[in-house]
Symmetry: C2
DNA sequence: CGGAATTACTTGAAGCGTCAAGTTACTCGG
DNA sequence: CCGAGTAACTTGACGCTTCAAGTAATTCCG
């Protein structure tokens, strides 16, 4: 891959590589910590955390999927496993009987509650410890700029630590 | 998830969410374009691109794995598929017969050569079009800072578009 | 009102990644 | 020079994600 029409400039290449390194390595690093300490994947954590903040610790499957940028199918499989482990329960929604609602059990709440501090500590360690306040602001700006290209409808709003 | 010991500040939260949105959405967006236009995953593209830049379009499996931040096992599976499709060939290394070397075939070279412009265009569109030169510099700085936490040995050097 | 389209999921199969062996080839100390 | 240790993979099984289909409930509209 060398001489193409609109290749990236040197500066862009360096930025691109740095970004890709983060994109590739960060999910693994987060999963490792969560898996080791709480036997949860990052995605499962996201699902449980989202429920823990919802009214009655309950959300529709479709909302939960959207909030975690997940397909319904993916969520459905994960929800089954989480239900088997006793972290959530699902039942038909009364208003609209096509819909299912997922509720965090007390066990599930305890689990996520216990997992949170370690997870946040890891995030802090990996991301924020070596960034200046100025850089944190810049990161937000840049991240939002990229995100608006990736997710024009702002579907993925409240990713919770 | 609310009142923990060392929670993130407001600023940190916003930066964190923006970053996570990018980390979650970007790989999918890149895969979609590559898959649609060239029937390649981002990872496969990386493998082929790396080979296309190597002397004799040839690298040891272990080097190729390191360059793409992959386990040997993952690379081995992917290499088998790429070999079945005729994009690469593998053979025993003469110097060290434990080692295998992978070589890009002409078909493989044509494939990656054809895939590159569209991929780069997509990268430009998603990342750089809405970033100022100043932000591109900041992104590199921030990315490198995070990366140095994630990958202390700087194993992942030459991620190629 | 009643059939067609749509919505909200669930399910099963297929593909990819990881993890734990297994194989073969070096290498190094005695 | 030979046996233990290590290195460079490959393989198989398992788990998770995706994709295509299926089901059931709701809505739309003629």
């Amino acid at each position: 891959m060398s001489e193409e029409q609109k290749w990236l400039s040197e500066d862009e290449q360096r930025a691109w590589r740095a970004l890709m390194a983060v994109v590739v390595l960060l999910p693994g690093a987060l999963d490792t910590q969560l898996q080791r300490d709480s036997h949860l994947s990052n995605f499962e954590y996201g699902v449980l955390a989202m429920l823990s903040e919802a009214p009655d610790r309950t959300l529709r499957m479709s909302q939960l999927a959207t909030l975690n940028d997940s397909s319904l199918s993916r969520l459905s499989h994960v929800a089954r496993r989480l239900e088997e482990r006793g972290s959530i329960i699902r039942r038909q929604c009364a208003d609209d009987r096509r819909a299912n609602i997922a509720t965090l059990t007390d066990e599930g709440y305890a689990l996520v509650k216990e997992a949170a501090p370690g997870h946040v500590a890891r995030v802090r360690e990996l991301i924020f410890d070596r960034l200046s306040p100025k850089q944190i602001g810049e990161l937000e700006q840049i991240g939002d700029a990229i995100r608006s290209n990736l997710d024009p409808e702002k579907r993925m709003p409240t990713y919770v630590t």
